[in-house]
Symmetry: C3
Subunit: 258 residues, 3 copies
């Protein structure tokens, strides 16, 4: 039984997610679906790329990851199918698999062009249903990736997360994402600072308290924990750091070392 994960900005109210699952089941009735999320903010490729980059590696090898955040649907943007780290990816070629490619430099990527694998007629507005879902289903039926089209030498890549030493004792970093709890996931990893003391500058605040876990400190306290995604996270005990600091994904922060 093949697992197909889904990550989209389709939301959970419309027929879109049902349609793409139906299309896949029509081609392979024994698929197992796992929804990563359908709540990527509309057209937010960067947010989708972060979540996909976090989620895929927990799945068994051979899992097929179908990702559709596709503001350019129907335009000249290409579609792709990739093999990376033992996983398969089907997505528009717009940067959505950037974080995967950063982690998997040995990835092989093909353009999706062989339209006999598509659902016909192909609409100009829903390639998730007409192109990417059927291609994912055909991948699950062991069609070799090169059958879908020619190698894609330069898939579109988002700029990597901001993390740059701008002075001897100052690193410029950014907020990568905000999670469900309002925790601010930074681009700074514990290994970037090692054993040096440091503090984080964010929204005119200096945060020098580092703790092991969310449940330490006192209610309402602002501090930093080593997050489960491998990055430091700015959190508020029993609250939302995003609300407390008024920060969102993409915002700059500073890190003062020593």
């Amino acid at each position: 039984m093949h697992t197909v994960t889904l990550l989209t900005d389709f939301g959970l109210s419309d027929y879109f997610v049902g349609a793409i699952k139906g299309v896949m089941l029509e081609l392979n009735a024994s698929l197992q679906f796992v929804d990563i999320t359908h709540l990527v903010p509309a057209r937010d490729i960067r947010s989708g790329a972060f979540t996909l980059g976090q989620a895929y590696s927990y799945f068994p090898g051979g899992t097929i990851h179908l990702a559709v955040v596709d503001p350019g649907v129907g335009t000249a943007r290409k579609g792709l199918v990739a093999s990376a780290g033992g996983h398969y990816f089907v997505a528009p070629d717009n940067g959505l698999i950037s974080r995967v490619l950063e982690r998997e430099p040995e990835a092989t990527v093909y353009e999706v062009r062989a339209d006999h694998y598509f659902r016909k007629p192909v609409s100009t507005t829903f390639h998730g249903r007409d192109i990417f879902a059927p291609v994912a289903a055909w991948v699950s039926r062991d069609i070799p990736l090169h059958q879908f089209g020619p190698p894609l030498a330069k898939p579109v890549r988002l700029p990597p997360p901001v993390l740059q030493r701008v002075k001897d004792n100052l690193i410029q970093a950014e907020i990568l994402a905000v999670d469900q709890f309002g925790n601010l996931i930074t681009s700074l990893r514990p290994e970037d600072v090692g054993d040096q003391p440091c503090k984080i500058l964010a929204a005119q605040r200096e945060i020098s308290q580092f703790r092991r876990t969310f449940g330490e400190g006192t209610a309402g306290e602002l501090f930093v924990v080593p997050g489960s995604a491998g990055y430091f996270e700015i959190v508020v005990r029993d609250g939302s750091a995003a609300r407390e600091l008024g920060l969102a994904a993409g915002k700059a922060i500073g890190v003062v070392l020593g």
Copy 2:
């Protein structure tokens, strides 16, 4: 393995969806569930009917579609089980399968009355769990539909979508639905206007720009695309037409031909 799709207004916070899946698994452990949506607005049969009418046909023949938007639960309203277009439907008889019946005139519909298929005791407030879920599970175990009750000659039907030529060059249409992106799905299909030039009148605006896809035009521009549901959609490039025009499902629009 049988696929059962689910469409309800139960939301995603409560135990309701889990309960109906548990009840079905108890009767048939090898079901595959696909959630169409559980976010139909509370008690909005028309909205549920639209989404169900869009979603079902993508699934393989033999799929069972369980749909529960049921403000009349426990009252005199009937329950039904139907075979239509190679699919099965289990729902209250309140119009929820109207769009399916419009597309599948050969449908056969039965009233659900044979209470030995029900979960006991049957509550007065949750027939999704006590009647419709077990009936769907029994359908998956190949109980012939006529065993559930007598034919239902006149299932409740919602009025069809508004689409009417009111003058030689004027069609009255309506907004059928608003999707996740704020796109306004109209009741007008490309084949209704053919090759004639036309413009859409909506919320005191004249929209004469027709494009192939969402990614054309300039940011913020209002235009029309042939949507993936088979209808024209009013959209805003990188924005929400619903917000821009202040329109919602059920609102009238006009179409001027020539």
Copy 3:
């Protein structure tokens, strides 16, 4: 095929739910997942306990229920695995399975301590992924529960729902939960009042109208129905009783008998 249900406060936007499913599939590829909910309010153990207590019993015997609402992750709070009423439960030891234990006094509960079943390295911030998900997967592979650790004699218990006769003709009760429709689920069951006439005092209102189902009465009317969870519910016809009365879970109500 084993069914694993999931109940968390992880929300539906992040990679968290995907990660825990991926971790489980890596250990047992033939699991069937059913999401109870991921929208438990952040850190609200009481709310999660209510929903879990309602949902589990509908599933077939042998179902594994993975529940993670875990504000104390990484602190001294324990983890547990339990067998209760023919079901399995994996959760932090913080009261989350309280409602299950109330209904299943014969439950056996073990502390989760055998770290060779954990995902390594174990983070301090995401035991759902690193401890509870792998333990649930190992349960599905028939590891006997006592292998995970020693018996847990006194699992943390929340106070039971408030339901107390404070005078001869007065019962003090509470709102247990508010559902998707704004219905107020009380701690009062039909068997608590039997055939006596009674009225409910809530938010300075006296509600003496009891009906069988939501569809009776007139639009906007406030009344009581026997809810599907086994408790009386305060409802508004075609509306939200929670909004009408301004009440939420945990609020006190009174019941006047006779």
